[in-house]
């Protein structure tokens, strides 16, 4: 059973759940991945904490992690890019594998963009400031392009807030322009490194999704692959 540390925000977690199902080759219930999903929207806001304006959600995240493991999770995933700021703290001392959304996204990117390519990132200001993705991208040989201040203030941040308020279609129109701005500046592929942003583009069925790596879908595929491999291992062992 894969434990999901979610609710940041709830709609992004529901989108992750749908994408795990969609990415699973299944003809009946029993083919699907067992999940235990904590959708706790009360976890302290991540961006404020990273930017030094609020208390750290780390104790709450650790409590959620341990709750999921106690309840039987054999691996963990967290469909929130910003919360991966605390990934090292969460993975440390964790008794089960903690599947990273950054690793999942960069793995997928490597199939889509050659080394040396410029990669755009759509993310919260906190994810960008904390450089959650940068080291993994740079290590893989990519150059990073981030939205300029104008795009952040008028498109990315209002788009994310609209998804959190249930206005995914309106959000889509803003996020689409933000993706286009990065493509115009030479991005070969844009990583949707905030799990609210694929919800927005999906609501609009935006054709620009073809130019993006959806971090939520990447993590979903990573989880399905992990689960199937773990099942195969247990069949070999018995």
């Amino acid at each position: 059973m894969i434990g999901v540390l979610g609710g940041m925000g709830p709609l992004a977690t529901a989108d992750f759940f749908q994408k795990v199902i969609a990415e699973t080759p299944a003809t009946a219930d029993a083919d699907h991945v067992p999940l235990l999903i904590q959708s706790d929207p009360r976890i302290s806001p991540r961006p404020a904490a990273i930017l030094g304006e609020g208390r750290s959600p780390l104790p709450e995240l650790l409590a959620g992690r341990d709750r999921l493991i106690s309840a039987g999770a054999t691996a963990l995933a967290m469909p929130c890019n910003t919360a991966h700021y605390w990934y090292a703290d969460l993975a440390e001392g964790c008794s089960v594998p903690f599947l990273s959304i950054v690793d999942a996204s960069v793995d997928e990117l490597s199939l889509r963009a050659d080394i040396g390519a410029s990669i755009g990132i759509i993310a919260t200001r906190a994810t960008l400031a904390a450089r959650v993705f940068d080291s993994a991208l740079v290590r893989s040989g990519y150059t990073v392009i981030t939205p300029d201040e104008n795009v952040m203030d008028n498109l990315v941040l209002p788009g994310i807030a609209l998804v959190k308020a249930g206005e995914s279609m309106r959000a889509g129109a803003l996020i689409e322009q933000a993706v286009q701005a990065l493509l115009n500046r030479g991005a070969r592929v844009v990583v949707l490194a905030c799990t609210e942003t694929p919800v927005a583009l999906d609501a609009l069925k935006s054709p620009l999704r073809l130019h993006c790596v959806d971090s939520t879908a990447a993590l979903a595929r990573y989880c399905v692959a992990w689960w199937r491999a773990s099942q195969a291992r247990s069949r070999v062992a018995t």
Copy 2:
């Protein structure tokens, strides 16, 4: 935190999660209902057990119930109508309220159909055979109309199987005809008493949804109302 005993099937549980979010008046993450969702597709098939052709899932359901309570659930819900065959066994000795999908659906029906009206039910053969809904409907003064054998074999059961296989659009075309057949026979409202069936009609954006009570959405609204009331009670108490 509301515990969700799900995975029967996974897509119906994901639909329930989406509907809880959609039914919540929220402008930010923190307004949403905290959920702990077990999506365990390995639970023994419910229809076979009810029809005497397979082992009972009750021990697995009780284990799931107790896992969710141990992990902190303060109420429970189960977005699967067929599994409500074991509702009394699950509610007995349960230390937290177990919110029933049957009660939620009948409550909603009472706003939509006058006493004495004929009510159609779309459900698995097991839910119909076990009369999961009948006593609650009859107690409320309704007359029940169920699909005939031909509609069950050619529309309802293949439609449910298609949703479980990820073919919601194709399923929608079948379920829509099943609903229409019940309306033609005089049903005032049709209860979608299998949580796969609203997924099918939603995929098609079927206009017939206006004539239906969606048991998944009814349970979602019931959960949101319970959570908001529990929050108001705890504010009064402190």
